[in-house]
């Protein structure tokens, strides 16, 4: 089905270096996100997945390196040009990030109201369509605080697709949700991909959801890209860290390390 026909890259990251103060989080990263596919960015907690995502949407400027979105380097763009590119990008944040002071309907309608000159009645209809699509029909009037975690995520999806983006980013869609709700969100991603034919980039560490939605996998570890490829290639990979992820093996420490740790605990801390 998915023989790797060379698809066109919609995002290209070249030699990206990101550091907070002196700590290097992403160390000279190169990667390509193919158009029209679902790319899953895998990696352990705190390895810089969200940081990478923030850079891909131009929220932060990197230490060095280039990020080309549809051929334009967003690290060099001014605010106005970046804003124009972002209109065709949707983002679902890890904590949903709905605007808590306005209703769910207004959250979804906000980009339309601000970026287009559509009639209010048209905006209402489009809002309704998007909410139907994510399974939140009739929730326009609800405030975000009245929704459950899974529903908030769905509303965030509706807001992210309100401008019919070409690229949809999701940061850990299933974080903090029970497996049933999480599975529902995976189905939603599949459905959106089918219906809207977008490029989707999902950041996660959930293997189950990765197997379900990924066409293309990128794995980060220790600030480096340690794997890129398809699911088959991923399963066959001999990389130690990849195997550890697949087999859910915990971090292994040598006797010596454990001994050092134990000594540090008993002596230094008092």
């Amino acid at each position: 089905m998915e023989t790797s026909t060379k698809t066109e890259a919609i995002i290209q990251v070249r030699n990206l270096v990101v550091a907070y103060e002196e700590r290097v989080i992403l160390d000279n990263i190169n990667l390509v996100i193919p158009r029209g596919e679902t790319t899953v960015i895998l990696g352990g907690s705190g390895c810089g997945k969200s940081t990478l995502l923030r850079h891909l949407i131009g929220l932060h400027k990197p230490e060095s390196g280039n990020i080309l979105v549809k051929g334009r380097d967003i690290t060099q763009l001014g605010e106005q040009e970046l804003s124009d590119i972002l209109r065709k990008v949707g983002v679902v944040f890890q904590s949903s990030a709905l605007f808590n002071s306005i209703s769910v309907g207004d959250n979804v309608a906000l980009p339309l109201r601000e970026h287009t000159r559509l009639e209010e009645s048209t905006i209402q209809i489009m809002t309704k369509i998007k909410l139907d699509m994510v399974g939140l029909s009739g929730y326009e009037r609800f405030m975000p605080s009245e929704l459950s975690g899974g529903m908030k995520k769905r509303a965030a999806f509706a807001r992210a697709i309100s401008m019919d983006p070409e690229i949809l980013f999701c940061d850990e869609p299933s974080a903090g949700l029970d497996p049933i709700v999480a599975a529902g969100l995976d189905q939603l991603i599949l459905k959106l991909k089918k219906a809207l034919k977008m490029t989707i980039v999902v950041v996660t560490h959930e293997m189950a959801s990765m197997y379900l939605i990924a066409d293309h996998i990128i794995m980060l570890n220790g600030g480096k890209v340690i794997f890129t490829g398809t699911q088959e290639e991923f399963k066959k990979s001999q990389n130690d860290r990849v195997r550890q992820f697949i087999e859910r093996r915990p971090e292994e420490y040598s006797e010596e390390e454990i001994g050092r740790y134990a000594r540090a605990l008993t002596t230094d801390s008092f």
């Binding site: 923030r54 949407i57 929220l59 605010e79 970046l82 804003s83 124009d84 972002l86 209109r87 990008v89 983002v91 944040f93 890890q94 904590s95 949903s96 990030a97 709905l98 605007f99 808590n100 002071s101 906000l110 980009p111 601000e114 970026h115």
Partner: protein, 275 residues
């Protein structure tokens, strides 16, 4: 011996490292404040002229929040302050048989000083902290990033409407405070000093000059902007979770009041010596 030297060198390096980080952090803060002020000016005055819009709707909502809703508490406090002022002045003036000058003291003190000052302090406590908490909560909940990811400028969306609302409403509240404070003075004059309503009122009107009211209002606009900028700065500086919001909210009130007093001293001396 060599160990001692290298240890001392280590301390040296640590010390200068510490100084260096402190200076860097200071620069970063100053730069952040500079950007905040510059961007706010741009999005308030320049951007609307080149058709980038001003969110008047939000500004109007904010006006209700910071202005209209604050009228009861500003009124209550101003009335009390007026009464206190009248009693304290009468206490001194009675000794010279000059109780009627209570009217002058209350009117001038209220319009030049206490009206603007008390109003600004109330607004700092009510709205400055509210602004810091609102923006801080949005920052913690990734809402600021969500705004940016939709191509919206947070300064335009969040800061400018609040600053506009404050700059318009704080002077209005100050005028209300002036009136009610003077009324508080009148109530004492009539009910306890036997001065008579008409006499006291005409003494008040005679005592006040245009300049008293204007200088008070100029100060109140400055206070308003200080409260707004401090609240926004603290909000954007929130890091971590809910306790970060709490800390910055408290700080916003303390710093606002400090800045208000500083600005008050500056402007009062300016008006005193130069006008």
């Amino acid at each position: 011996m060599t160990e001692n030297v290298s240890q001392r060198q280590g301390l040296f390096v640590q010390f200068f490292g510490w100084i260096g980080r402190l200076v860097l952090e200071l620069f970063e803060r100053v730069f952040f404040i500079y950007r905040l002020i510059l961007d706010s000016l741009y999005w308030t005055f320049a951007a609307p002229l080149i058709g980038k819009g001003l969110r008047l709707g939000s500004a109007f909502d904010e006006m209700v929040k910071v202005g209209v809703n604050a009228v009861p508490i500003v009124g209550l406090i101003s009335f009390s302050i007026g009464m206190i002022l009248a009693m304290q002045s009468a206490y001194q003036l009675e000794q010279f048989g000059a109780t009627i000058f209570t009217a002058n003291l209350v009117a001038v003190a209220q319009t030049r000083e206490l009206g603007p000052l008390m109003t600004a302090i109330i607004v700092a406590g009510r709205s400055g902290s509210g602004i810091a908490a609102e923006i801080g909560t949005m920052k913690v909940g990734e809402e600021i990033e969500a705004l940016q990811s939709m191509g919206f400028n947070p300064i335009k969306f969040l800061v400018v409407p609040k600053l506009l609302a404050l700059a318009v409403m704080v002077p209005c509240l100050t005028i209300i405070s002036d009136f009610i404070g003077i009324s508080g003075g009148i109530s004492i004059a009539v009910f306890s000093l036997d001065l008579g309503f008409g006499r006291y009122l005409s003494a008040t009107i005679f005592a006040l000059v245009f300049k008293d009211i204007i200088t008070g209002l100029i100060k109140s606009v400055v206070f308003a902007v200080l409260v707004g900028l401090t609240g926004c700065y603290m909000g954007f500086k929130v890091e971590g979770g809910a306790e970060g919001v709490g800390r910055r909210t408290t700080q916003s009130v303390v710093v606002s009041i400090f800045l208000i007093i500083l600005a008050d001293a500056f402007f009062t001396s300016l008006f005193y010596y130069l006008w």
